[in-house]
């Protein structure tokens, strides 16, 4: 666990870079978090996925996996990988300030 300063606010991130407390996240942090993941410009499609991740987490207690994102977010898996080449579910979860999606048991 480590403390990072994002948009001038101190937040706790775990070893893999996911938010420990999703309540510490604010929408102002998104562009800086995206930049950390190598995404320089956020398109509407990026925002759609990030907002969807966040709302699914708040509704269900876990973020969706890539497969579920492809079925439910309105963005296909191929497009998701174009938006987040390093792994849509993981990267979008980090930017959306939610824990790692609990897909894999």
């Amino acid at each position: 666990m480590s403390t990072s300063t994002i948009a001038n606010i101190d937040v706790e991130l775990n070893n893999e870079g996911f938010f420990v407390d999703p309540d510490q996240w604010t929408v102002d942090m998104v562009s800086e978090l995206a930049l950390r993941e190598g995404i320089e410009e956020l398109t509407d499609a990026h925002w759609q996925v990030i907002r969807f991740m966040r709302s699914e987490y708040l509704a269900k207690g876990t973020g969706p996996t890539v497969r579920v994102l492809g079925k439910t977010s309105g963005v296909s898996i191929k497009e998701l990988y174009q938006l987040f080449p390093k792994g849509p579910a993981k990267v979008a979860a980090k930017i959306a300030g939610i824990p790692k999606p609990r897909g894999c048991i």
Partner: protein, 419 residues
């Protein structure tokens, strides 16, 4: 008045639930009906052995109807949908069955058609799965003809039934090609979407070490987007490729299709949202879920289903009696991992505790996270217990539903062990 419990699915979970309920209640208290679309109960742990000629597909399948105690009504029909409003199940033959309590035990199904190209050219010629009796038998024929080249084992995505089975396949393939004297001619590669060999850190490390010892290359974080059977390539969504001469693919899994046709019942993958401790569905208080059909964060495995059985039957009883539910399922999972050369590993874990080294079920017992011949014998003997103990709903003496901690060594957890 007689209550009716309807159980959807006559596999591991449905059968043991029906038999356990029948023992708790007389026929004048409840009627029990089990619905399944076919009469083939597959001993699924046996599928792993079929491709290597260590078991035959026809020997691991028995009639479903024969596994039930007297006084259980077995209905052979496909299910169209469940109507939660009217507490009824609509069958595809047009009939309707009402219930007081519904138990969903319809497991997980393979959906290979969801991956581009997987069932296209090369399917069942160069690309196989051992997750079905037909697939396992066809793969067996292909393996016996295989005399060298690159064999790739690929998990498309989680969740899958028995998450250790693809690793076991790699270990047995290493043994199989050694036995045939052609191990040096075969390149084995394990391609997984996970970031390691397995989901749980300590076991993952140990299993990755075993893959390396057995000369199985490990490719991680590979999300298969397309299978090119003709060209012999797995293609990931991020553009990476892995070539193969023979591919063993574990296809995507979903819940049963009728779940998707039942308003308010399932999630986007047709699994049923379920309380992980009480096994009551989130859809309705009189709907319970056992085994692979549930979306609980436990492995999709027969041992989980077995351990769930006791809690589920007790909670159905409490529900019918108007009592509060017994929230006691802990996610207990127990898997023998066949490692080849007549040895096996045993892992035991729950929602909170990852697989640890030590002994099971107490300090005198089977070694955990370590290869031994005893574990291999345990795995072989389990088949008989499955048909004669687990399905009839008997408990194993000394083995409880809750995960034991007595023989485990949490302190050793941070130490990297190599035997």
């Amino acid at each position: 008045m007689v209550k009716r419990v309807v159980i959807l699915g006559g596999g591991t979970g449905g059968t043991l639930t029906a038999n356990r309920l029948r023992r708790v209640y007389s026929d004048t208290e409840i009627e029990i009906a089990v619905i399944d679309q076919d009469d083939c109960h597959v001993y699924q742990p046996g599928l792993l052995f079929v491709p290597f000629g260590l078991a035959h597909a026809e020997d691991i399948v028995r009639p479903r109807g024969r596994q039930f105690h007297h006084g259980i009504d077995y209905v052979k029909s496909a299910i169209d949908h469940v109507d939660l409003e009217t507490n009824s199940v609509q069958l595809t033959d047009g009939s309707t069955l009402g219930y007081d309590v519904l138990v969903i035990a319809s497991g997980a199904v393979l959906v290979p058609e969801e991956t581009d190209g997987l069932v296209g050219p090369g399917w069942m010629e160069k690309v196989f799965t051992f997750y079905s009796p037909e697939g396992a038998a066809a793969l067996g024929a292909a393996l016996s003809r295989f005399d060298g080249g690159r064999l790739v084992v690929n998990v498309v995505d989680m969740p899958i039934k028995c998450p250790v089975a693809p690793l076991e396949f790699c270990f047995l393939a290493d043994w199989y090609f050694c036995e045939r004297g052609i191990r040096d001619e075969v390149q084995l590669t394990y391609v997984t979407p996970l970031d390691g060999a397995f989901t749980k850190p300590i076991a993952s490390q140990r299993l990755a070490g075993m893959l390396a010892d057995k000369r199985v290359e490990l490719v991680t974080e590979f999300n298969t987007g397309e299978v090119d059977g003709k060209g012999g390539r797995l293609i990931a969504y991020d553009g990476r490729e892995v070539g193969f001469d023979l591919a063993v693919v574990i296809p995507l899994h979903s819940g049963a299709a009728y779940v998707g046709r039942s308003p308010g019942l399932g999630d986007s993958l047709n699994f049923v949202p379920t309380d992980e401790h009480t096994l009551q569905s989130h859809a309705a208080p009189n709907v319970f879920v056992i085994g692979d059909a549930a979306n609980v964060p436990a492995s999709k495995a027969g041992s989980v289903t077995h351990f769930e059985g006791e809690v589920l039957v007790e909670n159905v009883r409490r529900y019918l009696a108007g009592e509060s539910l017994d929230a006691s399922f802990d996610g207990h999972t127990n898997c023998f991992i066949e490692t080849g050369f007549h040895k096996a590993l045993l892992i035991d874990f729950d929602y909170e505790t990852e697989p640890l080294p030590g002994h099971y079920p107490s300090s005198v017992g089977l070694p955990l996270l370590a290869e031994s011949r005893l574990n291999h014998l345990g795995k072989l003997m389990f088949e008989s217990f499955y048909w004669h103990g687990l399905l009839p709903g008997r408990d194993i003496p000394g083995i409880s539903s809750a995960m034991p901690t007595a023989g485990k060594r949490p302190a050793a957890a941070n130490v990297s062990r190599k035997d």
